[in-house]
Symmetry: C2
Subunit: 93 residues, 2 copies
């Protein structure tokens, strides 16, 4: 499953990078709902994004990949807070 999601993510982003259209950007935003349903953590989204960019644009400079690693770390506490939310919701159900 995560590989499938990664493949779809890459395809949607590729389309946006080529078209720059608001419509393709919106497709991405809608796709992210499925990420949340599948409880994919925000730090994993950055990781999926990094993998897609490596595959689409391997020529980019190292600073880009390093900056994604930094961003993954920044998202870890957001992921923890979200999981707290999901367990709170479950308790209320």
């Amino acid at each position: 499953m995560p590989q499938e999601v990664g493949r779809q993510y890459k395809e949607i982003m590729k389309k946006y990078l080529e078209s720059h259209s608001e419509e393709d950007l919106y497709v991405g935003q809608q796709f992210s709902r499925r990420f949340i349903e599948k409880e994919i953590a925000p730090e994993d989204v950055i990781s999926i994004h990094k993998t897609a960019m490596i595959e689409l644009h391997p020529e980019l400079r190292n600073e880009v990949w390093d900056s994604f690693d930094f961003l993954i770390e920044m998202m870890i506490h957001y992921g923890l807070t979200l999981r707290e939310h999901q367990s709170l919701i479950r308790k209320q159900e």
Copy 2:
């Protein structure tokens, strides 16, 4: 305040991009706790990250900046879910 946070973020990331040290990465992770306390949304973190990268590495290719715009859209629903959590917490207090 947001400008100050952006400046600090840039400095911390700059250090990491130069050192690649686990320690500097950890400083970033700890710094993100303050972001959550200040209720900075995850999509705003990507935006702050993009601004810092533009200032640190303006020479990077357009694909990088466009990919950050795509990532911002991906984070919007995560931001909504987090705000829902924060309002739930407040109700319980």
